[in-house]
Each structure stands twice: as C-alpha cells, then as structure tokens.
C-alpha cells in the first residue's frame, strides 16, 4: 500500500495520540471523590443502627480528647524511634513507648513520599494524586473536605507553627500561625528554633484546642548528610526534649473530671539510606506514630509496634475530637485507641467510619455491591442493630458482650476490606496500561523513523506492506500471543487496570493493531537491511540532499533536537525549558546569520555570473544593481533584527521557576499607571498586524480584518485593559461580550472567504495564486482570533511573530534555498520559543483560563476548552500555519515540500513525546514527579494532539494539490 508522506504522518500522529491517551489513563489514577468541594456535615451522620423501633439518635458519641497536640517531624523514620538506636536517639519517647500510657504504630506513607501530598493525606485521609493538582488549578489552598476545616467549623481553635506549606494549604484556618520556609535546605537549626520559640507561651495558655507543630530540621539534615550522619543524634535529642516539654506541660494542665489530652508524634515520610525521599522504598514509607494520652492503658514493656496506614490517623483524630470524618478519607479508625471506651461507643465509632467508607465506595466503584467489604459492612450493620436492641432492653448477660465483640470483629474486617479496595484505586500507577501505551507509541515512532528515506524522497510516498503483513502467519501468531499475554496479565493483576476493563472488541482491535505494526516494522527493517549501515542511524537532513556532508546549520538543527529531547530528563531543564528554546533559537539565528554573510560576502568576491544565477529577481526590476544591494543589506539585517526581537520578547514575560519572580515588561505594562503606554502599544501593534497581514488578502478580507482589529481594541477597552481616546473614565467595565462577538463574526467571515477561495482554486480553476491567497486568508483569520485572545500586553508577541515570519520568508528561507526539512525544523523551534514568549511555562498554573470566557456570558465547557487550548498554543499554531502557507507557496520550486514538511513536523513532535513518556515512567518515583514532570506530560500530549490537527490540515492542502495537478 502506497501512502503519501503527509497522510502517513497524520495517521501515525493520530495513533500516537491514542497510545499516549492510554498511557495517561494509566499514569493518572482517577480520583475517588464525587465532588471536590462538598464537606461532611454533622447533620448528615447516619443514625445508630437499631432493629425494630424508630430511628435512634444520630449524635456522635462524646469526644475522647479535649486537646490534641500533633508533633510532626519531617522525615522521621520508623527506626529512629523504634529501632535499636531509638533508646539512644530519643530516650524519653522510647521510655513512654515502652512504659507509658501510649500506643505506638508504624504508619505506612504512600508514595510520592513528599511533604505536600503527605500533609494532604494526613489531613484529608485520602491519597492525593496528580488529579488533585489539576483540580485546584490556581488555588494552592486545599478545597477538599479535611480535618482542619472540620475542626475549625466545629469551633475548635487551632494553633500552628512550622512548615509554611500548611499555611498555604489552610489559609485562615489557624487562630495563630508562624510559617517557616523549607527553602534553605542548608539551615537545620534556625527552622526548628523558629517553631520552638513559641512553644513555652502557647503551652501556658488555655485558649487553643489543637496545636500542630511541623519540624523541618531533620529532613534538612537528611538531605545534607543522610540518616547516618553525626548531626542526626543531636537533632533527635532536641526533638525528644521538645516532646518531653510538651508532655510535662500537658500533664501539669491535666484537670480532674475533664477530658484527657492526646499527644501525637508522627513523621510525614521517612528517609532513604542516602537521606532523600520521594520514592517507595521501605525506609522512606515507614514512619513512626506514637499516641500518648492518659486515656490509654499503661504499657508493660516494649512490644512490636503494629502496622497501620498513615491515612488511618485522620479518622481516628476526627472521631476522637467528636468531628465528622472527611468525605474522601480512605483510612480506618485505629482500634487500639478505642479500647477503654464502652462497647456501645466502640461499635458506634466503627459504624460511623464504616458508613463513611461505604459512601465513598458507592461513589467511586461502579459495581460496589460486589465488593466483599461492602457486603461485610451490611451484615455487621444488621448485627449491630440487633445488638443495640438487646442492649437497650437492658440485657447485660455474657451473651450480649460476646455478641458485641463479634460485631466489633465484623466491623473491623469490613473496614479493612473496604479501605483496601479504595486505596487500590488510588496512588498506584497502572503499569500495564502505561506499558501498552508506550509500546504503541514506540512501534509507531519506529515505523515513522524507518520510513524516513522514502517519506523524504522526491515522490514523498511511503510503501507500507500492510496487506502482506496482515496475511502473514507471524501476524496471527503474534495476535494469539499478545491476546494470551493480555488474559494472563489481567487475571493475575491484583489492582484495577484500565486496559483490562476495556471491552473485548477494543482490546482485540488494539492487539491486532499492535501485531500488524510489529509485522510492518519487521518487513520495513528487512527492506532496509540490504542498504545496510548507510541507512541506519542517519539523520533526516542527510537523506534529502544528494551530498552527504552536513552543513553547520544541519549539525545545529540535529544537535538541538536531540539535545532538547535529552534535556527533558532533568527537572530543572523541564522547569526552565524556555531557556533551552531561547538558547537554541539564538544560536539558530546566529548560524543563519553566518550563512547569509557567507553567501553575500563570499559570492560578491567570486565571479559575477554566479551571482546572477542566484538572484533571479534581478531581471524584472529596472535597476537591478540597487535592488540587489538593498536586498543584500535587508537579508543581512534580518537575523540580527530577529535576535533583537527575541531578546525584547524574552523580557516581556518572565517564566519558569527560578527567575519567574524577576520584574518583567508585562508587569510594568499592566500596572495601572502605565495604562496609556499599554494602550498606545496595543494600538500600534494592531495597526502593525493589519499592515503585515493585509498585503496578501483579497479586499473583502482586508475590510473584515480592519473591522475585526478595531473590534479587538474596543473589546480590550471594554474589558478595561486599555483606554479609548474619547472614553470617559467614569464608564464601568463590562465583560465585553458584544465586542468579542463582533470580532468573532469577522473571524468567521475571513475564514469563510478563505475556504471559499481554497475550494474554488481546487474545483474550478486550479489556480495556484488563488489557492495561496485562500490559505493566507485562513491564516489571517487565525491571526485575528489570536489578537482577540491575547492579553493586551502580549500583542507585541503576535506582532513580532508576524514580522519575523515575513522577513525570514522574504529574505532567508527563499533566498538561501533551505529545503523543506530545514525550514520545518526552524519553524518548529520558533513556534516553541514563541510558546514561552507568550508567558507560558511547563507549570499548569500559567494556563490563562480567562480566555475561555471571551465572548461568552457564562462558562460553556466546549468553547472554553477550545479557546484556552488555542490561545495557550498560539505560538506553535501560528508558526505551523505559516509553514503550510510558506511551503505551499514554494510549490513551483519543490512540489513535494508540503509532504516533507508534514512528515518532519510529525517526527519532530513524536520524538520528544515518545522519549518523554519513557522518562516519566522511569522517573515515576522522582521527588518532583507531580510538581514538574506530570504537568509537562500533559503539555506534551496536548501539543501532540494539536500537531495531529495541523498535520490533517497539511494533508488536505496536499490532497488538493495533487488533485489540482491531475
């Protein structure tokens, strides 16, 4: 089967999109919660089960504790307290663990073992995943139902000292707080002293109910010198002293008759043998949990601490304080804490916890009734009801207490089963789906790479042996093999897996597709093999030209592409990816500059006739010498001018992480005292955009464009970004819906004219000029849309984009005879750099969501998402569209340029995307996986999707080209 390069490329990109979607589905586990912001209320609590008579009271049992002190020591490892060295490190704590009235446990933290998700887990009881980050896009505050919110709503006074992550997560929740930053890792004394200095005064007072202390010093020591360093012991002794101080203060405050206190010592995560954390190794996930309260039984000696989950603490604390359990909590109450209460209360606590878990189970698992835990809970609830009936009748026999114990046991089992069913859904990577997605993407990428010589050949068509692959024996064998592997994996997998839950038809289609791809791959390899080493590992550019030597520019383009792909493995380079692109773009401009210099200076020195053949424009002008002269200087000036533009744009929006706080032009322009400057700039840019775009449009589009741009300005004035010259300051700002819709009408008009021209050129006249005009009109429609969506201070980006495109096309790409592949790579690089010039970064927070409301009265999902995606990827899209326009205008020089361009674009996009998913899989336990790598993954996949769209557009262009030729 012979397919054209552009069809081939778009086909590959679309299937890669599907592969990446499968990967993403495996990588990001779906959240459990039904809704993010709903909270559990006291009035929603279930009634105490009672068979027969009317519903019993729905009140909570009496709280167990009056005051709670939570002492959270960052990176406190389990063996620091319970291990053989514990007696040396923390003597007082160890004494309490062994002899005091305490309960001690090893609490298992879930990966990622990083502070922020762990704090969320400790307060919400859920296991946070990346989706949480996406859900509360711009607000760092925790919106989910959580213990702190519940306590505050119940009127408890909370005091907090320590890591300021808490203050950011729970703004306005604390009666008193003092946040310390964990920014200076090398400081491990000051951070803790800043917490401890408040302790004496706070412990003396009586006006608080909950005190939370978060000590960072130990974590910092771990990062500096590891868990075996000499700094560890003094730090732990210090922590031990603090615990002693708190404990004795609490004991001295203890009054007869009132409820007892509770002191909790815990760690948010552990510390690996090298002192870091984030992964899932044993020392990283095992943290100590020590509960101290006079309500507990006194211990007689060291026992082996029981194992609980870290998320078990929040429901325990909630019930202990008489608060409702957070909705999304997957933890179960720690039974040991309840030991000393009455059997009725114990059952009630377990029932409340079980009810909350069963509600969550109902919301998150479709066939929840089949779950063992749910069934057990129903049975236990019934038994509880009948026990209550007997109890209220005043029965006090041995039988009753035995029956109660049995119900208790049933509850505990049910809770364990439900909790594990829920946590299986969460916080785990679905490796099978990820690997399946990766295999798809890599097969496609390899096919794309192997087809390179054919795709970039002069007829730009790829011979795909589809039929022979489908009819071959290996194909069927492979199908069978893969299907059996699938069945094997799915039946043996213990956790839920998305790929397994797909319907059989889909899975079979995937299996058949994958095996067909494999067969095609093998036959392509065997076809290349006779050509031998010459083909293997060669570059896209080498295969185009007949000469095999690479120019400096080619080396740069290749090295840049490969280097950028490799740089994605480092979190800093992902955070600061804009620097990579600016750097590469700068170097590219310098290389182009060198090429231009070489051409004009060398050839001037060379023979005159050589020059004539190179400058064909000469004969159509009356004064060729002057024309050439001015053209030479314009061509020479273009790269430095581009460099200057890039440098200015770069200071327009500071982005990234490390230098994002530096002042930039954008802030300066947006401040209210510079409104006039911004208005002038915006007006100037819009006029400039008009001048640049109109020259290749028909007169209808020219008029529409002019009105449209005027509409853009009035929209900005209506929204209040810029000033209208004759507008009084008294006017209130509106949403500008009318103005925006006015612009939309003109955009649609321009797009319609463009499409009409394109269709006419294709069907009726087959006129190349008409066609390029139609293309340009579609492009100008896009430009108009972007100018509407861009913020006022970003209009220079659009302006410079158009200017650079015009100059480069006029003087560089045409004159220096760069081939389609080189031009495509340059366009791609420019597109990437402009993506960051707009102020984007690889962080979700920089996506401008307000764009989704332009011209809409209220939030409508589909257009909002479409507009946001369009404006976020404005840079890459504009450059890709310009590439289509440019390459199809170059048709007379190289008829297959569009096909080559499309193929190169697909290759340029799929290489980093494919490499990135492997990197992310390898780094899935990295410290920054949720904060740095995952957002980038989303950006990459979105970009791939858009590129697939652009390639389809390419495709139609080439289609019409071939049909018009025939």
């Amino acid at each position: 089967m012979k397919v054209r390069s552009s069809v081939f490329a778009s086909f590959i990109l679309i299937f890669e999109g599907i592969g990446i979607a499968l990967f993403l589905r495996g990588f990001f586990p779906v959240p459990l919660k039904s809704s993010v912001s709903s909270k559990n209320k006291l009035s929603d609590l279930p009634v105490e089960p009672l068979t027969g008579s009317s519903p019993n009271s729905s009140r909570l049992p009496q709280p167990l504790f009056k005051r709670v002190v939570i002492m959270l020591v960052d990176a406190l490892r389990e063996d620091f307290v319970f291990g053989p060295n514990g007696r040396m490190y923390m003597p007082y704590t160890r004494h309490l663990v062994e002899r005091g009235s305490s309960h001690s446990f090893v609490a298992k933290a879930r990966p990622p073992t990083v502070t922020m998700p762990r704090i969320k887990a400790l307060t919400t009881g859920s296991i946070p995943g990346f989706i949480d980050v996406v859900m509360n896009l711009n607000s760092p505050a925790l919106l989910e139902d959580n213990l702190i919110w519940q306590a505050k709503t119940a009127g408890k006074k909370i005091v907090f000292y320590g890591d300021d992550t808490w203050v950011r997560l729970f703004p306005k929740h604390f009666m008193e707080h003092d946040g310390t930053t964990s920014f200076f890792v090398s400081d491990y004394t000051e951070v803790d002293n800043n917490v401890t200095r408040h302790l004496d005064s706070t412990l003396k007072r009586d006006d608080w109910d909950i005190l939370i202390l978060h000590y960072l010093g130990l974590d910092h020591i771990g990062h500096i010198s590891g868990p075996h360093s000499s700094l560890i012991q003094p730090k732990l002794m210090e922590m031990d002293d603090i615990l002693k101080k708190i404990h004795s203060a609490l004991i001295s405050k203890e009054a007869e008759g009132s409820l007892p206190y509770l002191l909790v010592l815990c760690g948010d995560h552990g510390m690996s043998e090298t002192g870091s954390h984030g992964g899932s190794s044993e020392p990283e996930i095992n943290t100590p949990l020590v509960l101290l309260s006079p309500a507990f039984k006194r211990k007689a000696g060291m026992e082996k601490p029981g194992v609980v989950e870290q998320v078990d603490l929040p429901p325990t604390l909630a019930l202990g304080l008489g608060l409702p359990i957070s909705l999304n909590s997957v933890g179960r109450i720690i039974p040991g804490v309840l030991e000393e209460t009455s059997l009725r209360d114990q059952l009630r606590y377990l029932h409340l916890n079980g009810h909350q878990l069963s509600c969550l189970l109902k919301d998150s698992i479709p066939d929840y009734e089949k779950e063992v835990g749910f069934e057990q809970f129903r049975v236990a609830e019934k038994a509880h009801g009948s026990w209550m009936k007997l109890f209220l009748e005043g029965n006090t026999s041995e039988v009753l207490s035995n029956m109660g114990k049995k119900v208790l046991k049933q509850y505990v089992e049910a809770l364990a089963a439900m909790s594990s069913a829920l946590s299986k859904q969460l916080g785990k990577y679905d490796m099978y789906s990820m690997i399946a997605g990766m295999v798809f993407v890599f097969q496609l990428l390899l096919v794309l790479l192997l087809a390179m010589p054919e795709a970039l050949s002069s007829d730009a068509a790829v011979e795909l042996p589809v039929l022979s692959a489908l009819l071959s024996l290996p194909f069927y064998l492979l199908c069978l093999l893969l299907a059996s592997v699938h069945v094997l994996v799915c039946t043996s997998a213990e956790s839920s897996c998305y790929f397994c839950s797909l319907s059989w038809g889909l899975v079979f289609a995937a299996v058949a597709f994958s095996s067909a791809m494999f067969c095609i791959l093998v036959s392509l390899v065997t076809r290349r093999l006779p050509l031998g080493l010459r083909i293997h590992g060669k570059s896209p550019l080498r295969s185009i030209g007949s000469e095999w030597s690479l120019s400096e520019l080619d080396v740069l383009l290749l090295a840049g592409t490969v280097g950028h792909t490799l740089s994605l493995a480092a979190s800093s380079f992902v955070e600061e990816e804009h620097q990579t692109w600016y750097f590469l773009l700068n170097t590219l401009c310098l290389a182009v500059f060198q090429d231009v210099c070489r051409k004009y200076f060398r050839e001037q020195r060379g023979s005159g006739d050589e020059e004539e053949s190179i400058l064909p424009s000469k004969d159509c002008h009356p004064s060729p010498k002057a024309e050439i002269y001015s053209e030479k200087w314009l061509a020479l000036a273009t790269p430095p001018f581009t460099l200057l533009c890039c440098r200015l744009l770069r200071s327009l929006n500071q982005t990234g992480v490390q230098w994002a706080h530096l002042p930039d032009m954008g802030h300066w322009l947006n401040s209210s005292e510079h409104r006039t400057v911004l208005s002038l700039l915006a007006a100037f840019c819009l006029v400039f955009v008009y001048l640049l775009v109109q020259r290749r449009c028909s007169w209808v589009s020219k008029v529409a464009l002019a009105f449209g741009l005027l509409g853009v300005y009035s929209y900005r004035a209506a929204v209040g970004n810029v000033l209208f010259p004759w507008q009084h300051s008294g006017r209130t700002t509106s949403k500008g819906t009318v103005e925006a819709r006015f612009v939309y009408v003109f955009i649609l008009g321009i797009l319609f004219t463009g499409t009409k021209d394109l269709l006419r050129s294709q069907i009726i006249t087959s006129d190349a000029r008409l066609k390029s005009r139609g293309l340009w009109e579609i492009y100008s429609g896009l430009v108009l849309l972007m100018s509407l969506l861009f913020r006022a201070h970003n209009l220079p980006v659009l302006c410079c984009c158009l200017l650079i495109q015009t100059l480069m096309a006029q003087f560089i790409w045409k004159k220096l005879h760069y081939d389609a592949a080189q031009t495509t790579i340059m366009h791609y690089w420019f597109g990437q750099a402009f993506f960051y010039f707009q102020g984007n970064s690889n962080n979700i927070a920089t996506v401008d969501i307000s764009v989704g409301f332009v011209g809409l009265e209220s939030y409508v999902e589909a257009p909002a998402i479409f507009l946001t995606a369009l404006s976020t990827y404005a840079g890459p899209l504009l450059w890709a569209c310009h590439l289509v326009c440019f390459l199809s205008s170059q048709r007379d020089r190289s008829p297959v340029a569009v096909g080559h361009g499309c193929y190169c674009l697909a290759l340029l996009r799929s290489v980093p995307a494919a490499a990135y998913i492997v990197l992310v899989t390898a780094l899935r336990y990295h410290l920054f996986i949720w904060s740095v790598f995952s957002p980038k993954l989303l950006y990459e996949s979105m970009h791939l999707l858009l590129t697939a769209g652009v390639c389809l557009f390419f495709n139609t262009m080439e289609q019409s080209h071939t049909s018009s030729k025939s």
């Binding site: 800093s572 380079f573 700068n586 200076f601 060398r602």
Partner: protein, 219 residues
C-alpha cells in the same frame, strides 16, 4: 609536508597553554584569598592579560604576522591603533551577543563585559596576530575552504573550540544545584577557557593527522 610549521605551532600552543596555567597558579600564590570561583573576575583578567601578552609575543617572534608593506613609523602606529580599535569593537560585539543570549542588560554588566573581554582575548586577538587588522582576510578565513596556511587552519580550530566551549558552558546555568561555578559568568568563562585549551591541543594534532589530505591554495 609542513612539519616545521606544525612543530612551531605545537610549541607556540604549548607556551600559550602554559601561560593560561601560570595565570591561574601564580596569583594564587601572590594574592591572598585568590580562587577561580571566589575572585572570578580577577582570575578572568589575569588569564586574558596573560594570553594577550604571550600570544602577541609568541606570534611576533615567530613572524606569522603578515609583512607590512610600508615600514614607516606612522603606518605601524596606525596598524596598532586599528588593532586596538578592533579589539575593543570585538569586545562590544561579544557583549551584545551575550546579552542577546539572555544575559541581564544592566545588572551584572561588568561580569558580562569581562566575559566578552576574555572571549576576545582568546579569539579575536589571535586573528589580529595571525591576520592583522584586515577584515577581508578574516572573512576569507572564516568562510568555507578559506584557509590558506597551516596557521589559518589552526586559527579556525581554536576559535571554533573556544566559542563552542563558551556555548556549552552556558548549559548548567539553569540547573538548581546551587554550586559556585553556576554563578554567572563562571561556567561560561570556564567553558571558554577549557575549549580554548582543547583547541590549542587539537589544532596541531588534527593538522598533523590530516596533513596528507590538506591542500592550500597559494596566497
């Protein structure tokens, strides 16, 4: 073929490399608290100064510099003046390029300019020594197949190595390792110096190994 010249180049390069080495070691003995990171600018000036002085001396002694047509004092003075002017212009050029690459415009302008002085003394100065203040000759040497002697090839290689070294030196700046050599412009100037030293070694070696293939047009 050009054994004599290659040997001369190798020894000249050895002397220049030694001067870079001495410029690093000697101040450390003489000046209190001198270190490559800590007092980076000082190190930078000492290296540029040493390389400038030594290359001018070496190339003058070797007699590579193209013979002047006139021997009047005034002509020589004007050549000297033009060389100084080119040196300064080249500093400005490098400064502009570095700013275009994203160095801050106003703050740390001194650091940026010092880096461009270093780059100039490692690259442009050698051009001045080998080719004289003659822009046409410079353009010839830096275009494809433009080298006319062993010295031209050596010049191409060292200049390219220095610039690539400085270019690569910029890579670690965005990394969040908080090391002393990530401070602007330490990594770039170190990269340039290491690139220069590599070029000094590579140029004679490369010419020696390719001496069969190399052909030069007559001047």
């Amino acid at each position: 073929m050009w054994d004599h010249e290659i040997r001369a180049m190798a020894s000249a390069h050895a002397i220049i490399a030694a001067s870079v080495f001495m410029a690093t070691v000697l101040p450390a003995a003489a000046v209190q608290g001198f270190s490559v990171y800590g007092t980076h600018l000082l190190w930078l000036y000492s290296v540029s100064g040493a390389v400038t002085a030594v290359s001018v001396a070496v190339f003058w002694l070797l007699g590579i510099t193209p013979p002047t047509k006139k021997h009047t004092v005034g002509y020589k003075l004007s050549r000297l003046f033009r060389s100084c002017l080119y040196f300064f212009l080249s500093c400005l050029f490098f400064h502009t390029v570095v700013v275009l690459y994203g160095a801050p415009l106003i703050e740390s302008a001194l650091e940026t300019f010092s880096l461009s002085v270093l780059l100039t003394s490692l690259t442009t100065l050698r051009c001045l020594c080998v080719l004289g203040p003659n822009v046409q000759a410079w353009i010839r040497v830096f275009s494809r197949h433009g080298a006319m002697s062993v010295w031209d090839t050596g010049l191409q290689i060292t200049v390219a190595c220095t610039l690539v070294g400085a270019w690569i030196g910029a890579f670690p700046i965005p990394l969040d390792w908080d090391r002393p050599w990530q401070v602007w412009p330490v990594s770039c100037s170190l990269g340039a110096t290491i690139g220069f030293l590599t070029g000094l070694v590579a140029a004679p070696a490369w010419i020696h190994s390719h001496r069969k293939q190399l052909t030069y047009k007559c001047k």
